[in-house]
């Protein structure tokens, strides 16, 4: 890690991690803004950040700040890195931030609802959807005991929450994907849907167009 990135990492942590408290966050945020205004610093930081490849280069709060900053500056981060961060974090909201950045600059022509997970036109989205629907019993030997759809539910929520045409179509593809947890995932979607007011429920159904499920009690 370069000296510049090491310096930035310390500042970013102090300004983004709430454990340091409001006063420290604000103070470091203002100091970092001054650094960004100094000659050439922002350009060098952009270069350094675009070279980051390892999730452990920053803490989760550091990454959340970098992801927000990268989005506002239109700095792309590699799909591989974003996928690793997505897999590492359990917070749906942090995952939303990653999906938001990964899809912010994608040019996407909605192609209807016939896209499969494997053919989806974004390697990042394919990767997180595929990973979530591969149960990986060899990695998670107790997966049988839990909900097979647990990881896919989190991906589904992140896709829906970001709410772009491409992520809504990805949510649709995920719900249509045939795998062992499909039925549970569909039931989960309908449980959420049925908690909504009737108008919003109709918007969700219109935007996601979920497939029917056998013995479709939830959809009624």
């Amino acid at each position: 890690m370069s000296e510049l990135l090491a310096l930035a990492r310390d500042f970013i942590e102090k300004m983004a991690n709430p454990v340091y408290g409001y006063a420290t966050n604000e103070d470091y945020s203002a100091r970092f803004a001054e650094l960004l205004r100094s000659e050439g610093f922002e350009g060098r930081l952009r270069e350094e950040i675009s070279t980051l490849r390892r999730p452990d280069a920053l803490t989760s709060y550091g990454w959340l700040w970098v992801i927000g900053w990268a989005k506002s500056r239109r700095i792309p981060l590699p799909d591989d890195l974003l996928t690793e961060l997505f897999e590492e974090w359990s917070s749906v909201f942090a995952r939303c931030a990653i999906v938001d950045l990964a899809t912010a600059e994608l040019e996407y022509e909605p192609r209807g609802r016939d896209l499969s997970v494997q053919d989806f036109p974004s390697p990042f989205l394919v990767s997180i959807m595929t990973s979530a629907t591969e149960l990986g019993e060899e990695i998670y030997p107790t997966a049988e005991l839990g909900r097979p759809s647990g990881r896919a539910e989190s991906v589904l929520i992140a896709l829906l929450q970001v709410g772009r045409p491409i992520t809504l179509d990805a949510a649709s593809a995920l719900l249509r994907h045939e795998w062992r947890g499909q039925r549970q995932l569909l039931e989960y979607f309908w449980t959420l849907c049925n908690s909504l007011d009737p108008e919003t429920r109709e918007v969700w159904i219109r935007d996601v167009n979920p497939p029917p499920i056998e013995g479709d009690r939830l959809r009624s």
């Binding site: 300004m15 983004a16 709430p18 454990v19 408290g21 409001y22 006063a23 966050n25 604000e26 103070d27 945020s29 203002a30 803004a33 001054e34 960004l36 205004r37 959340l64 700040w65 927000g68 900053w69 989005k71 506002s72 239109r74 917070s91 749906v92 909201f93 942090a94 939303c96 931030a97 929520i157 992140a158 829906l160 929450q161 709410g163 809504l168 959420l192 909504l196 007011d197 009737p198 108008e199 919003t200 429920r201 109709e202 918007v203 969700w204 935007d207």
Partner: protein, 258 residues
Amino acid sequence: MIGETIRNAVERSIEPSEQSRLRSILASTGPYAIKFVKSRWASAYFSPDRLKISETPALTWGTATYVTPLAFPLSSALYGRVGLVTDFDPSGWRVFDATDPAARAAYVNWVRVQPAFFDLVLTVHSTYANHLLRNKFREDFRVDCVLFNPDQEAELHTDRRQHVWMAVTDWTPQGTIDSSKSARLGRARFTVLIDEDFVLEDQGLPIQRAARQIESVTQRITGRSAIGVSQARLDPNLPAYVINHYNSGEYLHVYIEP
């Protein structure tokens, strides 16, 4: 992904600044705002400069520049001794008045139908979750300014029920919320110096009501006098003067001359 009724309720709570509560708040003072900051920033604002946009996850309405209309000049003094004042032009702003219970209800109803709502209320990630949702809300509805009653107060300086603070949005060219420095509050200058300090946090958690640390003591001491700091620095009798105050139970206020 929200129904018309919920969307319309939010839209009804957003008004052009010319028709909003902001207009009446600014009527007596004009479009001026104040932000109190730590003393270390005094020199940075000797000349007019842009205020830093706050991006701390713990803030009330997400990434924004938090200021107080000058109608409530000391209301946010708990954040520092240096008051930076700036003028601004709210023409055409879309103002969401969160001091109105109907607007707050519209926001809460919007949150309830967010796909991640269950995670908001059922996981430990609520601070960042609320930050992200408030930013999304303001982006989705193009809110330029949120008016809200403060949720922290400085003893005797802030009236949480009556005072109104502002969270002002700066936009990037792509229409997302900017987090650098505010162009909208861009002519801030060191204007107020206040003789008080407040504690903001207790073991890392924000204090709701911050006590005065200095005035609460000085008001209990009957004997007092004051001397300008530039005079005090050169006064050969200062040691005797201080000892005098000590022995008589009084206090000496060494102040920065206006």
